[in-house]
């Protein structure tokens, strides 16, 4: 009983396997090497033939539950299906990605399986004698990293995206694809999703450069200045996004999907430019893995300068035009 179940996600835009799921598989592969167990995947959704073939390249077994009612994510139906996969696969380890879907499903699964769950893990270490996972997680707004264990099996965790190596090598042969026929009807869920509203599709986690604004940007107008810097950076990077700390989101200057931090998106781009951000711990831990951090702030004592590589003290509105011009000269 040492098998691993990696729970896959289908990207709603591309219908392909979500990139984060390759990280879950990467972690799963490492675990299976450690335990000697098989690596299984759970694939739940609708019209999944192609995706199942893709996943089978990396796993020993793929459990597929394919149903029209699973097309749009409904956590009650999804957890029902996942519970059935768990019954069949009987894994000792269950790994999900800590995405909005994973965060909605994993606690429900925890209650149904009656095992504790650790969410948003940034590290896992297998104890080879006990088989227990030492789980590493940021707590207290990121000021502390805690390592702890639970003795209950299956060991249930969600992984923070972008922290784990994606699975690389495909197998020589293909894993087995197992279709579970499940009776799913609407009576299984009391929730009815009546509308899906698409906002601007921000994928902060995929950006390789982020220009982020905080309270010090001053308002929605200020974010237009940030757009100008973004436009120049787009000539240097393949994907640039506008991000924000919590105050601009709470004040409604930008959409919540742009929030970087422990309660928002965790990012690790090549370049992170923090404008008018003071550097509250809960923001910092969402971006401190960025390769180069630039901070621009009026207040020379702002904590953001302690965690930045390059800092400028001053009014961003005055500095930006010259900064942009300077960057253009290098193009």
């Amino acid at each position: 009983m040492r098998d691993i179940l990696a729970v896959m996600e289908v990207d709603e835009e591309t219908s392909g396997i979500a990139p984060v799921s390759l990280e879950v598989l990467g972690c799963g592969r490492l675990l299976s090497q450690g335990t000697g167990g098989t690596l299984c995947a759970a694939l739940i959704g609708n019209s999944l033939q192609q995706q199942a073939d893709e996943i089978a390249k990396y796993t020993d077994k793929v459990y597929v539950i394919d149903h029209i009612l699973l097309k749009d994510f409904n956590p009650e139906l999804y957890v029902y299906a996942l519970e059935k996969v768990c019954e069949r696969a009987n894994p000792s380890y269950i790994i999900l990605a800590h995405t909005w879907k994973g965060a909605d499903v994993a606690p429900r699964l925890s209650a149904r399986l009656r095992v504790p769950l650790t969410t948003d893990c940034i590290g896992l270490e297998l104890d080879p004698t006990t088989g227990l996972l030492r789980r590493r997680k940021q707590v207290y707004g990121g000021a502390v990293v805690a390592t702890f264990i639970y003795e209950d099996f299956p060991q249930l965790v969600t992984l923070r995206p972008k922290v784990w190596e994606k699975v690389k090598e495909a197998r020589k042969d293909k894993g087995e694809i197992i279709h579970l026929d499940l009776k799913i009807d609407e009576s299984l869920s009391k929730l009815k999703i009546i509308k899906r509203i698409k906002e601007e599709n921000v994928k902060l986690a995929d950006a390789d450069a982020i220009v982020a604004g905080g309270r010090g940007v001053g308002g929605a107008e200020g974010f237009k200045e940030l757009e100008k810097l973004k436009a120049v950076l787009e000539k240097l990077f393949s994907k640039v996004e506008i991000g924000a700390s919590r105050p601009p989101v709470d004040k409604g200057w930008v959409s919540p999907s742009r929030q970087v931090g422990l309660t928002g998106e965790k990012v690790s781009p090549t370049l992170y430019i923090a404008v008018g951000i003071s550097g509250a711990t809960q923001h910092v831990v969402g971006m401190d893995k960025s390769k180069i951090i630039v901070a621009i702030n009026n207040d020379p004592n702002a904590y953001i300068f302690s965690i930045a590589d390059i800092g400028v003290v001053g009014d961003y509105k005055e500095i930006f035009p010259h900064f942009i011009k300077g960057l253009e000269e290098f193009l």
Binding site: P107, A143, D250, G326
Partner: protein, 268 residues
């Protein structure tokens, strides 16, 4: 619409705005302590209470606040009564120190069942200390009521609720029957300002204190979180401050420095 019976689950947490310098690790007890700052109501649970207050204003009804823990501060929790909650019930005891999400949800389940009737349970999506994002959803499963996660807007129609949930890349509008559990996000708004006079007045309001024995619950058989290590990560980097007398010089020097840094990075 009938009036609403709302239960709000609230956690007392160490001050979430505490800078890293006052967060200390007791390596003997393996506990985190925050020096010099009083604990607070978890901000998102405050948001849940604010949502409850607004629903009560619109529909009438009763708000019961429920909190579980060890060393709960009356002063901190009374704020919920001052803000307008009708009743405050705490479940207290040493064995409730540092409970994880699952154990907390079990205690809450028993307490909710003891309270009896309710239409809506509201709580924050996550707490500011362990940040686990699970207690609400587990509680709903244990109570066998539907749960909607990550909600930024709540509307109550007769026996149903219309919830707007925050998801990656947009919003969902979800319809769910009552009774129902909802976890809320910060977009719903902070807990209203509570004036000092209201705080003083709230001192006269009673707080119900329940013990774990009152709930016929044995936590000893439950799997426990065993902390093996606590570490304060080093977030700090060596920051090169850009020199310059004018914004023009600073902007130009920043571009040069950044270009340099990017080149060093790509040559690695």
């Amino acid at each position: 619409m009938k009036s609403l019976n709302i239960i709000v689950c609230v956690k007392q947490v160490p001050s979430p705005e505490a800078p890293p310098s006052v967060v200390e690790i007791d390596s003997k007890e393996l506990q985190v302590r925050v020096r010099g700052l009083p604990p607070e109501i978890n901000p998102l649970d405050g948001t849940a209470l604010e949502a409850a207050l607004q629903l009560k204003e619109a529909h009438g009804g009763k708000i019961t606040v429920l909190s579980v823990g060890d060393r709960l501060s009356e002063g901190v929790l009374r704020k919920v009564l001052a803000a307008g909650a009708d009743e405050l019930i705490t479940v207290q005891g040493e064995e409730l120190n540092d409970l994880d999400s699952y154990a907390t949800a079990l205690v809450l389940q028993r307490a909710v069942e003891k309270i009896g009737k309710y239409d809506l349970i509201l709580t924050g999506k996550q707490s500011a200390d362990w940040n686990s994002e699970q207690t609400g959803l587990i509680l709903a499963e244990l109570l066998k009521v539907p749960a909607v996660n990550s909600v930024k807007k709540i509307e109550i129609l007769d026996e149903e609720a219309l919830l707007t949930t925050v998801r990656s890349g947009g919003y969902d509008v979800v319809k769910a029957p009552l009774p129902l559990l909802v976890t809320v996000t910060s977009e719903l708004g902070e807990l209203r300002y509570v004036p000092l006079t209201a705080l003083k007045k709230a001192r006269e309001k009673p707080i119900k204190i329940w013990k774990i024995e009152d709930l016929q619950l044995d936590l000893s058989k439950l799997g426990k979180r065993k902390v093996v290590d606590l570490l304060k990560p080093k977030l700090e980097r060596v920051c090169t401050l850009i020199e310059g007398r004018t914004p023009e010089e600073k902007g130009k020097n920043l571009a040069i420095k950044l270009h340099e840094a990017l080149r060093t990075l790509s040559s690695k």
